[in-house]
Symmetry: C2
Subunit: 550 residues, 2 copies
């Protein structure tokens, strides 16, 4: 850049904005940096808000990662809270600032402007949406209001509208406070970024912990009873009583300022930026939840409201403003949600997002490994889905649900994906093994091995929901006691150990679909049959997938 900027104004002081400000100072002692935020705080831990509401995080102070004093002391950054940027004069390179409390306005010039306005919770124009007791959760003041409302009203029943990450975190925390929680979700699954069969494990877990799920049902409106309590009316005609309602339907990028300034928006409605986080105006950068980024797995434009990418984008914007050639690699959407003792994590594409992107060159496998060696006490079974490119084995995405070790496996796969890894790389990964922490074959290795077996055509695969034909035979290779416990109607049971002796009873050219409990014996049976000239496919994930794949 020819005109090295001296004055930088950053709009929005959380995550991306705060990271950008601190990085700017580290790179340029001379710059005049102003960090502006509409709210009372900068750099607060918005991912902690549900836990603050739930009392798990006890003190509001804990959420304040850095305040104006720290920004001044360490960075000589001027923080202006309660200050809104009303407009951008791109010609003059000035912003108009308004003090939210006094209404006073003033103009401030910039050499570089960074927009980090975030995203705001969606509040659909439904009947009764503005009734008292209907909350969204974005900042510390919201959390405080929800807490006082619960206390003042002695609230006992909550309805959460939206079963995404924040909705489920709120479900956990309100349950923790002793409230009876109902989640109303328009889709017929919780956790929309997950594929439905994986989200089903989460739904089961929620129900087991006493949360009522109203899936596949949208909210029609809200009513207030005489006693001040609320009724949530749904499109199906159901009514859910509530002492408070949390709206967690999703967030929408805050683009009004950018739009008014004539900055280009992307097809998904976020601020459009290049891989250096530069908007259509070369003096204006944008980062965080308000920008549209490239999902580098599917190649699609995406809105990904995640703190990790926001922080990295802030750093990159600062680098570029200071004349460095940093570039954002795009996002793969690695995310995790804790749900009442369960972890649900994912990275990369889901099957849904692959389909949405029109990508068909993929295969999926399911497995249910233990979080650590089975012989050491306390191992928990996790459910893992791996998506990979059929043509070359490249990893496309993974989802996992379980009580332990889920974050680790998704992180390892996320790292492999970033490095353009294949299923063979997972197969050969050399990971920590001691019996408390993993297995000699880690779940990541197993995922790689199974996927590699599929790719090498060592294990032809089929899924429960593939339409049956007149030639379909479901071959159950479990032991008889397992079959008694849970059977598939019309299936043939030949325990694996007897399969070699009874092989003559099977049709060589049928459509044999082999299964066991989780897929391992099914794999052995499939190998056996395949080598003996019998066409057979293994049902990925075995009986453990049957209930969730419909």
């Amino acid at each position: 850049m020819s005109d090295y900027p001296k004055k930088v104004v950053i709009v929005g002081g959380v995550a991306g904005g705060a990271s950008c400000a601190a990085r700017l100072r580290r790179l340029d002692e001379r710059a005049e940096i102003t960090l502006v935020d509409r709210g009372p705080h900068v750099s607060f831990a918005n991912c902690g808000l549900p836990y603050y509401v739930g009392g798990v995080i006890e003190k509001e102070q804990s959420l304040l990662i850095a305040d104006a004093a720290l920004f001044h002391d360490r960075f000589r950054i001027a923080v202006k809270t309660h200050t809104e940027v009303v407009s951008i004069d791109r010609e003059k390179c000035e912003v108009e600032l308004r003090d939210v409390k006094t209404g006073d306005t003033r103009r401030q010039s910039y050499d570089a402007l960074v927009l980090s306005p975030g995203a705001s919770p969606v509040r659909p124009p439904l009947a009764g949406i503005d009734l008292p007791g209907i909350f969204t959760l974005r900042g510390i003041p919201d959390s405080r209001e929800i807490k006082s409302w619960i206390q003042a009203r002695q609230a006992r029943r909550a309805v959460i509208v939206g079963g995404g990450f924040i909705g489920l975190e709120m479900a956990e925390n309100l349950t923790h406070l002793g409230l009876k929680v109902t989640v109303v979700e328009m889709l017929d699954q919780v956790m929309p970024p997950f594929d439905p069969e994986m989200a089903a494990y989460v739904a089961d877990h929620l129900r087991q912990r006493g949360v009522t799920l109203a899936l596949g049902d949208g909210v029609a409106g809200f009513k207030k009873n005489a006693d001040g309590s609320l009724v949530v009316e749904t499109k199906s005609g159901a009514e859910h009583g509530a002492d408070l309602v949390i709206l967690s339907i999703g967030v929408r990028p805050e683009t009004s300022l950018a739009k008014a300034a004539g900055l280009e928006l992307g097809p998904r409605g976020g601020i459009k930026v290049d891989d250096q986080m530069r908007t259509s105006d070369p003096r204006i950068w944008a980062v965080g939840d308000a920008v549209e980024v490239r999902d580098w797995i599917t190649g699609q434009d995406a809105l990904i409201p995640l703190a990790g990418p926001a922080n990295r984008q802030g750093r990159i914007a600062a680098d570029v403003i200071c004349g460095r050639d940093s570039r954002f690699r795009g996002v793969q959407g690695t995310a995790i949600c804790g749900v009442m003792g369960l972890m649900a994590a994912s990275t990369g594409a889901s099957e849904k997002s692959l389909k949405r992107a029109g990508l068909t060159d993929y295969e999926k496998i399911y497995l249910h490994p233990g979080s650590h060696a089975a012989y050491y006490p306390g191992a928990k079974r996790m459910h893992l889905k791996l998506l990979f490119r059929r043509s070359d084995g490249r990893i496309l995405g993974a989802q996992a649900v379980g009580e332990d070790g889920v974050d680790k496996r998704i992180d390892v796969i996320a790292m492999a994906m970033q490095m353009q890894g294949t299923v063979y790389d997972l197969e050969e990964a050399e990971l920590c093994y001691a019996p408390q922490f993993g297995g000699a074959k880690d779940p990541v290795n197993f995922a790689g091995m199974i996927a590699a077996d599929v790719r090498r055509d060592d294990m032809p695969l089929v899924h429960w929901n593939e339409p049956v034909t007149e030639h379909t035979v479901f071959l159950d290779v479990r032991d008889p006691d397992e079959v008694v416990a849970e059977n598939v109607q019309g299936s043939v049971n030949i325990p694996l150990k007897d399969l070699r002796d009874k092989i003559a009873t099977l049709p060589p050219q049928g459509d044999i679909r082999v299964y066991c409990a989780v897929g391992q014996r099914g794999y052995l049976a499939t190998r056996l049959l395949k080598q003996r000239g019998i066409r057979a496919r293994n049902i990925s994930g075995g009986m453990a997938m049957r209930r969730v794949v419909t």
Copy 2:
């Protein structure tokens, strides 16, 4: 291979051997597979033995992953336990088998022979080494003997000779049983694969939990008292009383059979194999702890007695025997050890191993991030060391010690390393973040950022143990209350917030070494000084490293 083998004999039925046998059957229904083991078990969980001794794993049965019946039922593999392979007749392609119980011998021919004899605990020829009560731990019978000895003698004091992984696992488990444990280790650190400053955290932890460490002292011999108890005499002249002694000095590859058959050994004394696990005889393969492998980080030949690589090697040998072109990628030595609530994990090269290999193109950084976001309760600080190539940023190795989340970070770095990742890849890694599980900047990201800052020369680095000169100034940028708690003699204290105002007090061309508690404020101070033309370097890891780097 022209003569496709029909008869495969596998010598050694644990880990590599068992994996090889099962994989062989999956690839070839027709092969005649014989799995021979000298001991009473095949496929048992030897990594669980310390926990079986300690009673954490209660039932011996839990350790038996697969038995002869399962190998027959599922795989039609003939298992011969209590059977030793006495010799190999490579000319005739026959092995001589001896029944350990009866002494009967017979010959068995093979088309392919796989050696998986493992490694045996070192038992040095010291005075009194054969006294009753001195044990090594290799198989289930050893564990059983140790358990009965402790019970029968009401043992109260144990001496463990060797402070490696198994030694420390035994220290944990014997302490768990109520014994007073002393660890005698010849090196002046525990956990020899770790660098001493990282092992120091483990040593501290052990001492805090009541384990006595006698480091830098070798065993001279053993004596027996009149009451049957033992005395361990060390080279320094110390005497440690013990009701039992565990020798865990290390293991030696079992190569006697291979050597007698004239197979080539490697420079480290293990069986030499190519990357298809083939020995110098094209009909003989070898896998597991007995073989020498390539450490692909240092390029050195290495003996790596780990279960993960052994399993993968077994698979690869099976693949190659069945005519497939699989290749072993070499090892990077990823390992973890649980030590009384602490995890110590590492992957890749240590600084020691880089030095041993004569590699000097490296840099190291230290950091002490929390296991998850500080604002969520229960975060534990971990200690992390990252080694990378100075010339191009390639990750060379990592070590971490802490109570939580250590396995995850080392696994992620291990995966990045396998993909030839750089510190920039760690910087940009997109990992799971919710406050219970990680941070918006994960410890892995921090490690990458710090290392990248060093490589870009944004943060010149220095370590505590670098010799001081007459121009050296130790600049402490912590706050006064922290300085009062722990001070470095002769240091200058200018809290970070005052540094800009007091900059004139610092010599521009001195050797300023900046530090804070963990390195972060030191980084900010270094950036500040550097930009203002003052030569300064940050002491990596700050005060938290001072005690351990001497």
